[in-house]
Point group: C2
DNA sequence: AGGATTGTTCAAGTATTATCGAACCATGGC
DNA sequence: GCCATGGTTCGATAATACTTGAACAATCCT
């Protein structure tokens, strides 16, 4: 019943630009997105920029990104793999991610 | 002394990407930016998407945009003119505004 | 099965943001 | 000078968002 294993992800058609912008507007979340731009990572591998971050806090950061449609969070083994929904975002908001990731 | 006439604007060099993204992440502020993309407007002309908006609220929306470096607010006659800092933003964050404004 | 590992969710406290009326300020025109 | 116009700032309240420990869930491994 409502296993936590598979988390809900919005369809890209119902993702709003403002929600994506909001998700990216936090430095910690943006940093996570930058890390994920290099390829999928487990949650443990991700967020190394701040190793002291409690796992509940980290989980919350990913939740915001996931609910905004920026990131996909899927179970793998005993952990989870995160990846940027890059192709989908590029289709929905052409150039957005490129420009954000290009900014120093 | 500290006349309100001329409001402080950040140098583009000290504008942070996350602040810009945050400023754009609110639907009302984003709508204002869309209106300003067509050219400078007085505050009265701007924000017509919600005519019932109190002027203090509207002023606050502009303040957030101004402090994030998105908009310039300058006195003109008895009122004020607002304009998007488009060229500067394009230089600092190439493609960002384009992609945001292009999104439907 | 039991324990270790990896996260998620809940709840509570804190902090940041939004909203809007009222007071205030500057300018233009009479 | 005085008043109307156009907008900012202040102050209070409401609404969101962030942070974190503790409890819980799923999986792997022996």
């Amino acid at each position: 019943m409502a296993s936590v294993t598979s988390l809900p992800h919005p369809e890209m058609s119902e993702v709003r630009l403002t929600d994506v912008l909001f998700a990216l507007s936090d430095p910690a979340r943006l940093e996570i997105v930058r890390e994920l731009a290099g390829g999928p990572l487990s949650m443990a591998e991700c967020g190394t920029f701040n190793p002291a971050l409690p796992k509940s806090t980290k989980s919350h950061l990913f939740k915001v990104l996931r609910e905004a449609g920026v990131v996909r969070n899927e179970p793998q083994g005993r952990g989870r793999v995160l990846h940027l929904r890059r192709d989908e975002l590029d289709r929905a908001f052409p150039g957005l991610l490129d420009s954000v990731l290009a900014a120093e």
